[in-house]
Amino acid sequence: MFEGVPLTWFLITGTIMFFVGIYGFLVRKNLITILMSTELILNSVNINFVAFNKILYPGHLEGMFFSIFIIAVAAAEASVAIAIIINIYRRLVNIDVEKMNEMKY
């Protein structure tokens, strides 16, 4: 309970966001929209970490540091993924995952 807001409300919000991200990851075909679904999944995990930290262990900061490191990893992942997407677009002129069925060798 955090000033009237129970822990389960945060967890349910995070759960819904996570599975919406999973749905988008499975349904979408464009590479950039798949990347956006990944960002949704990472964000929902951050909400869970922070809510557990604040409500169950308010004297500690572990959840916050985990969230900071997740955000840093997400930034690195997005930059490399977008470099790969642009490289693919240069070679194949579209970024549809179902049309990418050839490798170099």
């Binding site: 075909k29 169950l56 262990y57 840093a72 642009i86």
Partner: protein, 170 residues
């Protein structure tokens, strides 16, 4: 309803509605804008929990950095007026089943579990001085090693992104 509950309800509604719109919108630039709303509402949730530093990171790095990067790559790789084609039904149904089933199981588990009511009490330690000291300390609750590892990871990602996106000569 207390003010905290009201703010939580607003942020939660914005997160759920706009995350659903993010994965269903057929215009890709609009999907990116909806993603921006979701990330800003998540930052608001961190403010609600009094993690001011984390909320500032969320707004600058996620909402300011990653969304701009995504929008740039959208503008580079697709035409603005273009609509994505509708996903086929034989793809939607398994994905929807997986997502709904997973969400139902997880929510049922959360509602069944009894979280401890009395918390380990302690002062609020979200002071910026405490954060800075534990990020570079090597004691218990210190994060010097992950901090160094993440700096090497960011450097490697930067070099990798430059090499991948560079134009080949051949």
């Amino acid at each position: 309803m207390t003010p905290n509950q009201l703010m939580f309800a607003i942020f939660s509604a914005v997160i759920i509605i706009f995350s659903i719109l993010t994965v269903t919108s057929r215009r890709i630039l609009r999907a990116a804008t909806f993603l921006l709303f979701v990330l800003v509402a998540t930052g608001g949730m961190y403010f609600l929990l009094r993690f001011n530093f984390l909320a500032a990171i969320q707004l600058t790095l996620y909402a300011g950095g990653i969304v701009v990067l995504i929008i740039f790559s959208i503008l580079l790789t697709s035409h603005i007026g273009e609509k994505l084609e509708k996903p086929e039904l034989k793809k939607i149904i398994p994905a929807l089943l997986a997502a709904l089933g997973g969400a139902l199981i997880t929510i049922a588990t959360i509602l069944q579990h009894n979280f401890p009511v009395e918390v380990i009490s302690g002062s609020d330690r979200t002071d910026i001085r405490v954060i800075a000291k534990s990020l570079i300390s090597t004691d218990k609750f210190g994060y010097a090693l992950p901090f160094e590892v993440i700096s090497i990871l960011l450097l490697a990602a930067m070099v990798g992104a430059i090499i991948l996106a560079k134009k080949r000569k051949d």
